[in-house]
């Protein structure tokens, strides 16, 4: 995994306070309009995100570049895969 400080984020999506699966739904909507290689930083507070976000990346063919956790806040960096 790359160092978080090395990741160039294209867009940040703040989903703090939202319950799963709302964060992954909104992330999928944003990712669908980004270009391949663009990076979405997703910020969540629902613990369900720890399982749902990696599952989203696998389903969509995107890459989960890095994760970070601080208190109740989880951050995910998702790189959009090639268009299918």
């Amino acid at each position: 995994m790359p160092e978080i400080t090395d990741i160039e984020t294209t867009e940040v999506l703040d989903c703090t306070g939202l319950l799963c699966p709302l964060p992954v739904y909104k992330a999928a909507v944003v990712l669908s309009r980004l270009s391949a290689g663009d990076v979405l930083e997703l910020v969540c507070t629902d613990p369900g995100s720890l399982e749902d976000v990696p599952a989203l990346a696998r389903q969509r063919g995107d890459s989960l570049l890095a994760t970070d956790s601080a208190g109740d806040v989880q951050r995910f960096w998702l790189a959009k895969g090639e268009e299918r």
Binding site: G17, C20, P21, V24, A28, A55
Partner: protein
């Protein structure tokens, strides 16, 4: 029931003149029709009638449950000034969107994979907000039920202040609608001679409500459920091999389950169009195919539910037809 319609109106059922579209909601004195189908089930001893639920005011059997569930939310004060949210494959949402507009509120719909564009456009025409939702959105906790999980998340967000979830899969008013209207209508329209009742597994409000009512009148009436195959393309129906059973399903009223694959359902739907002139949706094809397989040596009057009409599925039927009916030059 009230369907939140104004009172003291000019509605006159005898003249078929109505103050308000909600006054067209069916009941035992104003039932949806039963129409006999004989040509499409050759060799079966069943005298099969379809209950044409697409002649309800908003186009499907879900009008009944939607009206009951919304009435309950309004009358209990639960709705208040919140908007509605619901997971629906389209028909419940269409009815709710129409009724919500009349009640002065708005509907957000989480809609699962496999719902035709026609339904999504209808919902937006009615002012609803449509969230197309992949079945696998929430694979860990809600496999194949992403739309339900998303609707629940919306309802729970903002501490429940923004959305009231209708919850048709767990809502006893869904069952009550069919126990108080569809069931009594069928009993009266068949003059108590019904022997078999066919309906699909979906939210299970219909099969539970009608089945319960009919069995209370005559416990020997047999209730037959139609279940699609996993990965099916029959909107409104549910395979419990891949989706959770709704809490409102009463297995005690279901005597038989017949599994139907898509090809059989669509082929039978085509026959219903061409042999019976019934412009029905594919779930009706599934019901009639199941009745034809179940019939065999059985005799007697049977009623199957025709949940909705075919107009909402023309994009699907175009795929089924291919180039059939086009000039071959």
């Amino acid at each position: 029931m009230t369907t939140i319609a104004p009172s003291g109106s000019i509605t006159d059922h005898g003249l078929r003149r109505y103050e308000d579209i909600r006054h067209l909601m069916p009941d035992v004195d104003n039932p949806t029709p039963l129409v006999r189908v004989g040509r499409s089930i050759p060799g079966s001893g069943l005298d099969l009638y379809l209950k044409l639920e697409w002649l309800n005011p908003f186009g499907s059997i879900k009008d009944r449950a939607a009206a009951y569930m919304l009435d309950a939310l309004v009358e209990s004060g639960e709705l208040g000034d919140r908007q509605l949210v619901e997971a629906s494959s389209g028909n419940t949402a269409i009815a709710l969107a129409a009724l919500a507009a009349l009640a002065g509120t708005r509907l957000t719909v989480t809609i699962p994979d496999g719902v035709p564009e026609e339904k999504k456009v209808l919902l937006r025409m009615l002012g609803a907000e449509v969230w197309p939702t992949p079945d696998e959105l929430c694979p860990v906790d809600n496999p194949k039920d992403g739309a339900i999980a998303l609707a629940r998340a919306l309802a729970a967000s903002e501490e429940g202040s923004r959305y009231a979830m209708v919850g048709q899969y767990d809502n006893e008013h869904n069952v009550r609608a069919h126990y108080e209207t569809t069931g009594p209508e069928i009993w009266r329209q068949t003059e108590g001679r019904i022997r078999y009742f066919f309906a699909g597994f979906g939210t299970c409000g219909t099969i539970t409500g009608v089945g319960r009512f009919l069995k209370e009148r005559d416990p020997t009436i047999e209730v037959v459920a139609i279940e699609p195959q996993p990965g099916h393309r029959l909107p409104g129906l549910k395979s419990f091999a891949e989706a959770k059973e709704p809490s409102i399903l009463d297995r005690g009223v279901v005597d038989h389950v017949i599994r139907v694959d898509d090809d059989a359902a669509y082929e039978t739907t085509k026959r219903l169009f061409r042999e019976e002139a019934l412009i029905v949706g594919p779930s009706t094809g599934a019901v009639v195919w199941a009745a034809s397989q179940f019939g065999g040596d059985r005799r007697g009057m049977a009623v199957g539910v025709s949940p909705d009409g075919g107009q909402k599925y023309t994009s699907y039927f175009a795929e089924v037809l291919g180039d059939e009916g086009l000039p071959q030059v």
